[in-house]
């Protein structure tokens, strides 16, 4: 069985956890780039390259890569991602790195202030996607507590011209022509934090995922509400009614059939910790009902926050999430039981699971 690696981005650097074939024993390496905030990581399985966004509070952002699973790293002398100097914006962070599923030379980055960048040369250089960069809505978006960020990039499974992005706070935007034109796709998503609760844009999408085999089916965790679309984002329906709270950040969908969806509810946008001191993951089954998965998780005195990219799944039913208190939980049995892998990491921003070797 393949090993699983977990890329663990924290507020104090990157860690890499590597499992044995059974995912019972884990070894932790790092911190890499200590003292920097790792908001985005990605593994490109086309060339086994790990990409890391290292955000240094003093010196700015660096996009770094490794071709040997972290044994050595390449730091470009000059930053790869930066806004045009003639504009009035400067890069504050990279929130998402997305190697294309369609070709080996295309890599997308979602950044703060919210914008989409792309490389067409394998990551040697990045430029803003012009249609996104010049979109008239950009100046009207508002930052959430984490900053004004583009945190989700989803490609259509067949057509490379189709992309969905999600911005906090701006909402879902889709292009069908390779990035020239972008349209908001937020119909049905309620924004109770705005006077007009169903605006064309301005929704605070926290995370969005795509069904692994049906690209028209999308799910998103909103600032309030868990939503589903079966028409590529043209319309959305709230499916979070049975959850203990439909507020939260993290969301993941399993690549393993029947592709359950996972969320971790948090109580209210003013508290942002798990409800009633009880940590639980919820799974949306094929029948459309939510199941509580909490065997092995703390059921009292637990006040954790799980951030938008801190929940991940692997290709063999493994689920992993990290908390702002530095705990890393795992289940190798589709969430039926949970085990604490690491209990004192720095605050976890990002968890990405990949099966390698």
């Amino acid at each position: 069985m393949k090993k699983t690696i977990l890329l663990l981005g924290t507020i104090k650097g990157l860690f890499i956890a590597t499992s044995d074939g059974e995912r019972r024993t884990w070894e932790l390496a790092g911190p890499y780039f200590p003292g920097t905030q790792i908001y985005a990581v990605a593994f490109n399985n086309r060339n086994n390259r790990i990409w890391v966004s290292s955000n240094n509070p003093f010196y700015g952002n660096e996009l770094i890569f490794s071709d040997d699973l972290g044994a050595s790293w390449t730091k470009p002398e000059m930053p790869l991602v930066s806004f045009p100097s003639e504009g009035d914006e400067s890069l504050l962070n990279i929130w998402q790195i997305k190697p294309s599923i369609h070709d080996s030379q295309t890599i997308f980055c979602g950044v703060q202030p919210a914008c989409l960048f792309v490389s067409r040369d394998g990551g040697a250089s990045f430029t803003p996607v012009e249609g996104f960069y010049s979109h008239p809505h950009r100046k009207e978006w508002m930052p959430g507590a984490g900053g004004l960020c583009l945190h989700t990039i989803i490609e259509d499974l067949d057509d490379p011209e189709i992309l969905w992005t999600a911005v906090s706070t701006g909402g879902v935007y889709k292009t069908s022509d390779g990035g020239v034109n972008w349209a908001p796709k937020n119909k049905g998503i309620v924004a109770p934090f705005l006077p007009d609760t169903e605006p064309e844009f301005g929704q605070c999408v926290h995370k969005m995922v795509q069904h692994p085999t049906n690209p028209q089916t999308l799910f998103l965790q909103h600032h309030w509400g868990v939503y589903r679309s079966d028409d590529g984002g043209e319309s959305w329906n709230n499916i979070g009614g049975e959850l203990p709270s439909d507020f939260g950040f993290a969301m993941a969908i399993s690549p393993v059939a029947p592709h359950p969806l996972y969320v971790i509810p948090l109580k209210s946008d003013e508290f942002r910790c798990c409800p009633d001191g009880k940590l639980a993951v919820y799974r949306l089954g094929a029948a459309g009902s939510w199941e509580c998965l909490d065997d092995g998780l703390p059921d009292k005195n637990c006040y954790e926050t799980i951030l938008r990219d801190a929940l991940s799944v692997d290709d063999a039913g493994g689920i992993y999430f990290g908390t702002r208190n530095g705990k890393l939980w795992s289940s190798v049995e589709n969430g039926e039981t949970w085990r604490l892998l690491f209990d004192a990491l720095p605050a976890v921003l990002n968890v990405k699971a990949y099966q390698v070797i």
């Binding site: 509070p57 003093f58 010196y59 700015g60 002398e77 000059m78 930053p79 100097s85 400067s90 890069l91």
Partner: protein, 93 residues
């Protein structure tokens, strides 16, 4: 005339004390010195000290001798005896 950098900046520059020939920059503003001499000779330092808009990064502290410089003001003139310190500011954590 010298520039003192520490930590990651020193790593990028290959040393923490960077010497410059005083005759080259008589009556030069700090901004012009950085652009024409420091960044010209140590290009990797530029994006770590200033952002795309040319502004000093929020958590970088610059001192000329013992005076804290808040903005890279064109009017500030350095001289042959100046010592420029470029340091991570305490505000950065």
């Amino acid at each position: 005339m010298k520039v003192i950098v520490t930590g990651y900046l020193a790593e990028l520059a290959g040393g923490g004390e960077l010497q410059f020939n005083a005759e080259d920059y008589q009556d030069l503003s700090l901004r012009n010195f950085l652009d024409s001499f420091l960044f010209e000779n140590y290009s990797a330092l530029k994006p770590r000290i200033i952002n795309e808009k040319g502004c000093l990064r929020e958590h970088i502290a610059v001192f000329v001798d013992s005076s804290r410089i808040r903005q890279l003001d064109d009017r500030l003139v350095i001289d042959a005896e100046s010592e420029i310190y470029i340091l991570p500011a305490l505000s950065g954590g």
